[in-house]
Amino acid sequence: MIKINKKISEILTQHKNEIFEDWLSGQLASVSLRLDLVSETELRRQSQEFLNLFVTASLSSNLQDINTPEWDGVREYLTSITYSRARQGFSPTEIATFVLSLKHPLFSHLRELSGVNSNDLIDMIWTATFLIDKLALLSIENYQRGREEIIKRQQQELLELSTPVVKAWDGVLILPLIGTLDSARTQIVMESLLQSILDTGSAIAIIDITGVISVDTLVAQHLLKTMAAAKLMGAQCIISGIRPQIAQTMVHLGVGFGEVATKASLADALAESFKRLGLAVIKPQARG
């Protein structure tokens, strides 16, 4: 084993430059090349850096376990490339190909080696394959992790975007809810509504659910609790835009908004708020 490892590392060190050139031209010729996302100079730099670290790590004569400290540099660099590629929109195949395409130039050089019996050659290829596959798997795992982080961040952004509390009039807030309401989102939306009520000193808040796809018991309960909390703070809530299907589901579920004011449309709710505030909308006299 040690003999095999040593031999591979010798070849890597002696033929580093040729392997590098072969590897790079292989990558440049590959169908999974994404020059639209990464420039040739950048690819050259990344490949050079990776190969340097790879060759250095191989000197440790440990080609079996990439989780040891000798491989720290390689793992870290691969992780950083993967993360940046995941953000740029590379596919998992394209990301894995970066490492996997190192096999071909490396194996070619192993084959050209003189004075090696076929058993040793197979052992060497086996070792190298195993090593490179591990690195490829690592980059896939990192890719996955990178994507998950992106999804998490986008969810957070969506959550923030989807909670716009709009001031409709002095003393009237509108919260237009859109999409699917789950328990966690409803809770965040409602907290932000209550905070806005306080910040703007608005006595009336309209919760418009025209854009809500469905309301289940839990969400209805959250809405009711929010209205109770708003009332405690000294504000009134009006719910508008309950769609026919939702009204049906709610009756079916036995969920009612009780004594809470509900209006069919946002316009009706706004008119009701004006009434409560003692305001009237008057058409100006037509000018002659």
């Binding site: 009520i197 000193g201 608005s202 703070m233 000294g234």
Partner: protein, 131 residues
């Protein structure tokens, strides 16, 4: 021993609770407020609890009690400044605070007090004319 100051503002009493109250202090406030109400013949009480970081069932009961007592003494109480987190917690706890009027801030609370007092004045005036 700290006490909670009760300020007289025209025909209203203004109380701002700015400390985390232990039970004895809450009961003491209840006592002082009612005797002050009688002494000054005030028409309303404005209770500002915007600094209060929580309202548990004991505090909730105190607020209900104060509202009920002032009403018996011919005055009205408005509680102002309940914070969002506190309001959410009161609802989750299951407290309902019946008969407690609330307003967002001191201005809105004052407005409600004036309306309530005017309303009871009109009612009173009507009854006088009847006789």
């Amino acid at each position: 021993m700290n006490t909670i100051p009760i300020l007289k503002l025209g025909e209203y009493l203004l109380v701002s609770i700015q400390v985390d109250m232990h039970d004895r202090l809450a009961l003491q406030l209840q006592d002082e407020l009612t005797s002050m109400l009688v002494k000054t013949k005030s028409r309303g009480v404005l209770l500002d609890i915007s600094f209060l970081e929580m309202v548990d069932s004991f505090m909730g009961r105190m607020l209900s009690n104060i509202a009920a007592m002032t009403r018996l003494l011919g005055a009205e109480t408005v509680v102002v400044g309940i914070q969002p987190a506190v309001a959410i917690t009161i609802v989750e706890l299951g407290l309902t605070l019946p008969n407690v009027r609330t307003a967002l801030n001191v201005d809105a609370g004052m407005e409600i007090l004036r309306r309530l007092v005017d309303f009871s004045d009109q009612k009173g005036g009507y009854e006088c004319q009847q006789e």
